[in-house]
Amino acid sequence: MSVIEMDGLRKEFTVRVKAGPLRREKRTVTAVDGVDLRVERGEMLGCIGPNGAGKSTTLKMLTGVLTPSAGRARVCGLRPVADRTRLALRIGVVFGQRSQLWWDLPLRDSFDLLRHVYRVRAGEHAARLARCRDLLDLDAFLDTPVRQLSLGQRMRGELTAALLHGPEVLFLDEPTIGLDVVSKQAVRGFLAELGRAGDTTLVLTTHDLADIERLCRRLVVIDHGRVVHDGSIAELHRRYGSRRMVVAELDAALPEPPVLPGAPVQRVEADGRRLVFALERASVAEVVAGLAGLTTLRDISIVEPDIEEVVARLYRAPAALMDAP
């Protein structure tokens, strides 16, 4: 049985918009439009999509915070809304933009309170906390009130708080938002370590594609409330025509950009002395051989496909053009 199941999950919000000096009209906005997904135990699933795509709303329905308008969801075999209190004992949630810690209390007191809230045995709590202290380097600020922590410190505290009761599923909603490079690395390293252990399922939403590349083998792209891609990053590249690039540095500019079969020129830079070819059907060797017959090569480099570019193309594409996965 999958640890997370979604069948036709849908969420609509009713908003009132101004329709005159005194009149307001009700309008229905569909935030999530029939999501079907299965996530297996131990999987690390990355969820991306433009702002307002429905990622966070989906996460909130899976954690029981929001009631779906239609469809069915099961997490750990439980109904998220109806069984929310029971489910809370089996999942952990980190919201990058919200805190689940107590603002006025030192981190240590927050953790101690969570032990009682989740009714965790003292020994288990101490073992998990010791592991998190070690991996996330918490000791320096364990006695600092949460309100005085930096964002990076707080996020490390949030991750610990979400894990102290030993959840089976960890939901992370933009956990690296606003973090500096070092804090991002610490958070990603910790999550990668958690994923390697294999007994916690991770569902991560983010705008930072490096999070996905570093952590998740499976990527789900959500747009306009629908899943438009479900597969690996490599599959995303294949599907949306990502191409490797060959950058050729020439001794002297050619009078005309060369025409090489299966490798059209994408850009001409540095006054014609740098040419960027997109590898469509041709291989790198064919491009090099083709150029060598025309001019003297100074340097050749290969640029792997850029996921950000693929995703940007995907976001810009009209919804109708994106076929279902």
């Binding site: 919000f13 702002n51 966070s56 909130k60 954690t63 029981g64 915070v65 929001l66 009631t67 809304v81 929310r84 209190t85 029971r86 809370a88 004992l89 089996r90 949630v93 919201f95 933009q97 919200r98 805190s99 689940q100 107590w102 006025d104 209390l105 007191d109 101690d112 309170l113 009682h116 809230v117 989740y118 009714r119 965790v120 045995r121 288990e124 073992a127 998990r128 010791a130 592991r131 998190c132 991996l135 009130p145 894990l163 009761h165 030993g166 959840p167 089976e168 370590e193 958690l194 390697r196 252990a197 007994d199 916690t200």
Partner: protein, 283 residues
Amino acid sequence: MGSVTATVAPPTGAHVTPWFRTFGAIAAAGFRRHATYRQAAVAGLCTNTVFGFLRCYVFLAATGAAGTVAGYDRAQLATFVWAGQGLLAVIAIWGWTDLADRIRTGEVAADLLRPVHPVTSYLATDLGRAGFASLARLVPPLVVGPFFFAVYLPRHWATVPLFLLSALLAVVVCFGCRYLVNATAYWLQDVRGPMILWTLGSGVLAGLYFPLGFLPGPLEAVLRYATPFPSILQVPLDVLVEREPMSTGLTLIGVQAGWAVLLLALCRLVQRRAERRLVVQGG
């Protein structure tokens, strides 16, 4: 990483002792959270004391030559005022917008992710807060008052424990009312309107601006039994100054308990309704 992840099935049963332990831990955290704001406590204490003098002189003036008004003598009125000034902070009649703020900012989502019902969790925190306020805000006015005014000391041994019970129920009743006022944010987002109504209504009807005994008898009776407001302040103070016979005092405490149960049930009902149509603000 094995020790961080799920290895033991979490407890799922509803056991009474662990429930009390959790409730106690949240209450203790509530105490500690409010104990961190000591300067605010001192500032509030000064304000309460100044207003204590003001109210006491006004009420004493109302007794006139007869020395009594609405069933209170001068000493009873002084006790009513000074104990009331302390009790104000314990029940936190005004200024509590924690829930409304969390609804407005979307932080309420974190409350819903805990394995404790939000009403239970907020109540436990509030009792912890009231515990701190009892030490920091109730005791000082009770000490200051007798230095400047002749106060009434209870004559029956049961009065003080009954007053403490009544004050505890007053905290719960006040919490229930405040929770409901704050919960309007689920529908309105901005609770300034309901908050103004609450501030005005509670001040007048709870017996803060004047003891409800100043009102005509039938009106006082309707307020006492048919609305929760007197249970917030007037009842514990009347118990303390022994204005009524013991049997009436016990009845009023029973009414308080009834309101406490009713309001908590209403809070849970409203919370359930609100969750069905919840919109988490800010994504």
